[in-house]
Symmetry: C2
Subunit: 195 residues, 2 copies
């Protein structure tokens, strides 16, 4: 499935199964494993997940996920190659701000896939690349057919979301401290202006 | 299992099974369901999870989770009653700051349970209360014995973590905007002081 520049990504059931591309399928299975999680996918289990994924080719500039999108929320992507900018319209600014650049091994879009809420950030391809897509239907099928594999995948996905939450928490602490320092500076400058 | 004031919580395997307390077990099963998630626990499946949980009584002032703790990370708690303050030592401040108060139906500690990382916040009981505890061992047992139920529970837990991530993202945007405004105010005051 090819996504040309200027398009928004979606995951069609006509996209080719990743399993048809042996080398990429092996790479995806390796990237899916989350060694630090409570339970981890074995290589065979990761291969089982990959059998439910589809290959997505994207051009530079493609919007893989769009912040606020409520319709195309039924898939996640495991990046196989290429760089992707994660962007947000911070604090109601009109221009989106890049908050991270992610690459191979990163999973994007799993939050909306799991909870059905609108996409929380935009993800824009900075280069051409490839991703392994998992649709909500395929995830439901995996839970039906291989529930133990699905459970381990879900521990891994939850673990990745938790990791981002920890990172964001640290950023928030930094901003909270910066705001306090700036407030103190404003108070100091105002006091000396009054003298 | 009773936790008196001034103690840190842990979850002993000697704590009484929640299933021994019929009314509380029914309540826990109801609170476990996450209607907005991709797949939701049925009442029977929620009851199956509850059969792996233990009852924890806590006094006011008990530290249910301690920020940075690397040892007692092998359990999560579903609050059944009582109020709990979620606290963080924001930006290296010596005093912890309360960032939220959570009550019945809230799950705390699931992140460290799933990814094994140190606790990201402290959770302090503001009142006496009760919680349903799930240990990592029991979760692993559930994945073994009822993988489909475990998978659905994990979708629900991931969904709750995602929800917190979205909330924190909004807070971060607010702080980012506040910092920009304050920086502009500092620049303005400095310029007028120079005149």
């Amino acid at each position: 499935m090819d996504l040309p520049p200027g398009t928004d990504a979606h995951l069609e059931s006509s996209a080719p199964p990743l399993a048809d591309f042996a080398a990429l399928a092996v790479r995806a299975a390796q990237l899916l494993r989350t060694p630090q999680a409570l339970v981890n996918l074995s290589p065979a289990e990761a291969t089982c997940v990959v059998e439910h994924m589809r290959l997505v080719h994207f051009a530079k500039g493609v919007t893989l996920l769009r912040e606020g999108d409520r319709t195309r929320v039924d898939f996640m992507l495991l990046l196989l190659d290429g760089d992707v900018s994660v962007e947000t319209s911070a604090g109601g600014a009109s221009d989106a701000v890049s908050i991270a650049v992610v690459g191979p091994g990163s999973v994007i879009g799993e939050m909306a896939l799991l909870d059905g809420a609108p996409r929380s950030t935009s993800c824009i391809a900075l280069s051409p690349g490839r991703a392994a897509g998992l649709s909500s239907k395929e995830l439901e099928r995996l839970i039906e057919s291989h529930p133990q594999v699905a459970a381990k995948l879900l521990v891994g996905l939850a673990s990745r979301i938790a990791d981002r939450l920890r990172g964001l928490g640290e950023q928030l602490q930094m901003y909270a401290k910066l705001s306090l320092d700036l407030q103190a500076e404003v108070a100091r400058l105002r006091a000396s202006a009054r003298r």
